[in-house]
Symmetry: C2
């Protein structure tokens, strides 16, 4: 992909973007504010910029006169970068110029880290869980009437030093005909034992040499979405991926409402079969997309939270929501995929990630395993922020974990105009410190319909740093802008007026929304603090943070620290792994070392019920501020705030 | 049961019989001949006897005049023994008297031997394969939110020293509700590992203490009949038993015709489902008869010949009937019973007896295991005579085996009026050496319809010893009786004239029938001889013989030796175990020691394909005589024959 360098003036900030990127996103990445409230559809006409050198495609609009065009004016949201550029943001007042330096620093995103087969090899963690071996057996002739299975076993022993073999009934059924179709030259798929003295299980058989084709499936059973991947076990590559809404969603958006439904007559079976049917739909899509034959699939790994796992396996979840919150099991046995209705061949072994507790489930365990933190020296904070949030702290010596009752604010839940990260969601934001005009960037560059998790974080963080809201999340009543107003006794900021919005009213962010965000981030942060305190440590001891979740890797780390969601540590110490549950499911398809270690890891993951942990409430109350009661926990932010005051006072 | 002593005159032979037994069967047991051709229905009126002392019930008939009755005459077949008796057989000529002492010796039946739980305990072979353990778990309260499975595991470890536990998914599904129904007091069913370092698998769970109820099922999948037993694993007793025709029988009576059908489109699936449906019918009957709940069943064990096993498991048997006769597998993995359509709960583990070769199958292995011969010092000849015949020779050091192409003569196959041992079959026989009149005893004491295996052996043996047939199985043309005749060039003996038979013609035994019997017994005997020769031994080395099959334990051992089916050894050395396949299935339900040893045993059972073994044809031809070309192999018979000649010459 071609990349171009853009200089923004008068700020004198540079950024490198890909060919075709919109100028407004480029500005956002550079930390340069451009008024833009319509989300990038060219409706509001506010994002006027002057192209001083270089070339853009588009950017022309009825909102610009011929004179404007001749002078190099374009609408930033409609301009696509096609060369290196120098772009000037027109400043219309001296205040504007003065506050230029107050603007946010350039975006600092987390490094994306997804382990692959090479990493496993390098770390000595590669223990193939399934192998295909091509065997040439002696053809039965004369008095040689050994059974077909004995023939195969003898050949595997003699030519491949295979020992302790056992056979699936389905393989015995295939063997006589497959062997004779291919002149007794076959490929045996052997599932390796997790424990070293275990049996090598022959789970499939194919005519001829098919050792270059061996695949696995990884599935993340999310409360909202079920994701699947087809993994090539030879190259370690993901061949296809697909996610679909968990069909259970019609019976309740969150875990508790699903459990309530499961307690009704026939409810459990219903939710079980809906999860299975969504999984089957996802499998069917990814298998088709990857162009493989289902018979070439050896294993399927599932990861999900405790409730999703129990519903998926048809295990009554009713005691998960009743004190003292007892799950049915931590560890589930492997089984044959069709046994629970999965539409895959009989030989496909299904593995389910184990659970720590009712609210720290297999999705979190998968992340801990897949990210490798369970075997590293570094003291790591693992955070998975989704419909709920879970945190794990520890290293190869010890692990503590907890579920934080954060709720779904980061997925748009509990926010008046909150929404998932789909088309029309404001996902990025900036504010002009002088005029308080917004710069909204929406998913799909269409009119704003609402605000998603990353937008919300950016909004609140930016407004806080600009002094638009105070550390309790309340708007500064002294600010003079029509965008700040009181409706039914509640203060709110208008992100987009109805005439440029994608809905039939203004898109707003209210103090109630901000309060919900603060409660959510407070629950997560105080969860981390409580866990650290329980093991006698503090933020300063953390060597790194691994973030997982649907957030997206582009989120500005500095802003997550500004609102006090993440503790303030070097951005270099933060990595983002995306869907940790899916990653863990994929990693355990690639290596038995994870399957071998997972049971011991689950056993040493000490679970804390935060509501029963004494210090939690104090920590929680202290975290209900931006960024926190104790500002010294966020020294960089404190310094920036102090600098801002000084700058404004000059 | 009351028993009475009966003296027969003028032979002066005594016998003890049960109250109500018919006099004709008492005479047969005593080795006393009474003319009786109608099978015991009182039609022929020939079995006149004089009751000299004591009392019988019945025996009166229109065939007897008032004078006869006054003189104590009764028909033996209609007389039931009701006291000690003295019975005189009227002799109507001096020849009759002279030949009295030529009659057969009293019946010598084999000892019946079925091992039971006590035998296993005494021999140190009792290793329970499934145990039920009653557990009281701590009730989850306060902060105790261990998962239900962990709770159960911890209790089993702490209170019962159970280790290395793993759980079936079905148990995890049951646990949360069952535990709470019974205040966390449950009974866990634990399947023990066959190998010592294996896992203990928790396969079932019941509320409260049910440790006194634990059952298993044993199934013999015969080509003709499928038998089942419910076994109480606490007492070792058989609670119920039932057999039904294998529904596959409509698609061919023997193995080869079944394989031929299985090769047709959809044929294998059809035969598979027919076997499964018969098994389900048998299970349903025996479970009902025993009054147990299917949920209380832990395991089911199957034994059958190689073809029956493959058809039952839906494994293509086509290569079994094609040189070099390759079975699909020797050893089958355990599986969950419903996996192949067995209508039992999901937790029931199904075990299938392994096979030695295409024609020495799991039924024979089951007999070898169940009889204990695989672990005894004695050199044992094991014979299973059914639709075909198989022999095994050896002890705990070594085992050789072979299938003998004997055909179904002993089940009535290939015999003109041969039939299975059902009502109307002549099952016992004697002949008057002077008049050559028969004494037929039929199953059900009804008119003769045909002759079954035991009747055939007795007929041929008796006629041979009486000189009615020679050692090539040919009738003595010099004998003067209307019962011997030539029809279409074939000599035959009329066992029952049409007027007293149960069919629309005479019941006869022809030289062709006798020839078929000789071929069958020749195949079996020469099989034994060949195996013995291959290991450098002879008949004299045998310590004992174990007979298995549908024969019935009442068969006269001396007569099976007279025709040369069994080698001539002391009757005390012969034991009869009945259905060896069913017995073996039952024994492996009772102890893991058999499951542990069976794989090694199968591996050391050296199979001989007799048709490929050089010496077999010579042995076979030598065995096509009564009893054998080499009379010295049967010294007792030789002595009796010589004595008979002397007696007749006196």
């Amino acid at each position: 992909m071609t990349e171009y360098k853009i200089s923004f003036l008068p700020h004198d900030r540079q950024v490198t973007v890909e060919d075709g990127q919109s100028l407004i996103r480029a500005a956002m990445d550079a930390g340069v504010h451009i008024n833009a409230s319509c989300g990038g559809e060219g409706v509001c006409g506010k994002c006027r910029v002057i192209i001083e050198s270089g070339e853009v495609e588009g950017g022309v609009s009825e909102q610009l006169s011929q004179e404007d065009l001749d002078n190099g004016y374009r609408l930033a949201c409609l301009s696509k970068v096609k060369s290196d550029l120098t772009v000037r943001i027109p400043t219309e007042s001296s205040i504007d110029a003065k506050v230029l330096n107050l603007q946010a620093t350039a975006r600092k995103t987390a490094r994306i880290k997804q382990l692959n087969l090479e990493d496993l090899r390098e770390k000595g963690m590669f223990v193939p869980p399934v192998e295909e071996i091509y065997v040439e057996m002696p053809v039965p002739e004369g008095a040689d009437n050994e059974s077909d299975v004995t023939r195969l076993v003898d050949s595997l022993q003699r030519d491949h030093n295979e020992r302790r073999l056992e056979f699936d009934l389905s393989v015995i059924r295939k063997l006589p005909d497959v062997a004779r179709q291919s002149d007794f030259k076959v490929t045996a798929t052997i599932a390796r034992p997790v424990r070293e003295n275990g049996k090598n299980r022959v789970i499939n058989l194919q005519a001829g040499n098919t050792t270059d084709r061996n695949f696995a499936i990884a599935i993340d059973i999310g409360t909202t979405t079920i994701y699947g991947q087809v993994i090539d076990l030879i190259s370690g590559k993901v061949l296809s991926q697909y996610g679909d809404f968990n069909a259970q969603i019609s019976y309740g958006e969150d875990i508790i409402s699903r459990i309530v439904y499961a307690e009704k007559e026939g409810g459990l079976e219903k939710l079980h079969s809906l999860a299975v049917s969504t999984v089957n739909k996802v499998i069917s899509k990814i298998v088709k997309k990857s162009g493989i034959d289902p018979d070439e699939i050896s294993t399927i790994t599932f990861a999900g939270n405790t409730t999703m796992t129990q519903l998926f396996l048809n295990v009554n979840p009713r005691y998960i929501r009743r004190a003292p919150y007892v799950p049915a099991a931590n560890i589930y046995p492997p089984f044959q995929a069709p046994e629970i209705g999965i539409e895959l061949p009989h030989h496909v072994i299904a593995l389910v990630y184990p659970q720590v507790s009712s609210y720290v489930g297999g999705d979190i365990v998968a992340g801990v395993m897949g990210s490798g933190m369970y075997r590293d020296d570094e003291l790591t904070l693992y955070m998975d922020i989704g419909t709920n949030a879970e945190v794990v702290i520890g290293n190869k010596e010890w692990l503590v974990c907890a579920a934080c009752s954060a709720g779904p604010a980061f997925e748009g839940g509990g926010i008046k105009l909150g929404m998932r990260a789909t088309e029309g969601a404001i996902e990025d934001f900036s504010i002009d410190p002088a005029t308080l005009e917004p710069m909204n960037v929406t998913i799909g560059n269409v009119r704003p319909k609402g605000i998603c998790g990353s937008g919300l974080i950016t909004c609140v963080a930016t407004m806080f740093e600009m002094g638009v809201i105070d550390n309790r999340g309340k708007f500064n009543r002294d600010l003079d802008t029509p965008r700040l107003r009181e409706v039914d006794g509640v203060y709110e900021y208008v992100l987009a007026w109805q005439d440029v919005s994608g809905i039939d009213r203004d898109v707003v962010l209210s103090e109630i929304d901000i309060d919900n965000l603060i409660r959510a981030k407070g629950a997560i942060y105080s969860g981390c603090m409580t866990l650290l305190a329980e093991v006698g440590l503090s933020i300063g001891n953390l060597d790194r943070i691994i973030m997982a979740g649907g957030f997206g890797s582009y989120i500005d780390l500095e802003k997550t620290m500004t609102i006090g969601l993440l503790p303030e540590i070097d951005a270099e110490k933060v990595t983002f792994i995306g869907n940790g549950s899916l990653m863990g499911a994929r990693m355990s398809a690639l290596t038995n070392s994870i399957r071998r270690d997972v049971v011991a890891t689950v056993k040493r993951m000490t679970n804390f019920e935060l509501s029963e942990t004494k210090s939690f409430m104090d920590n929680y109350i202290a975290a209900l501020f931006l960024p926190h009661t104790e500002q010294q926990l966020f020294p960089r932010l404190k310094a920036r705030m102090e600098q801002r005051h000084k700058d404004l006072e000059q």
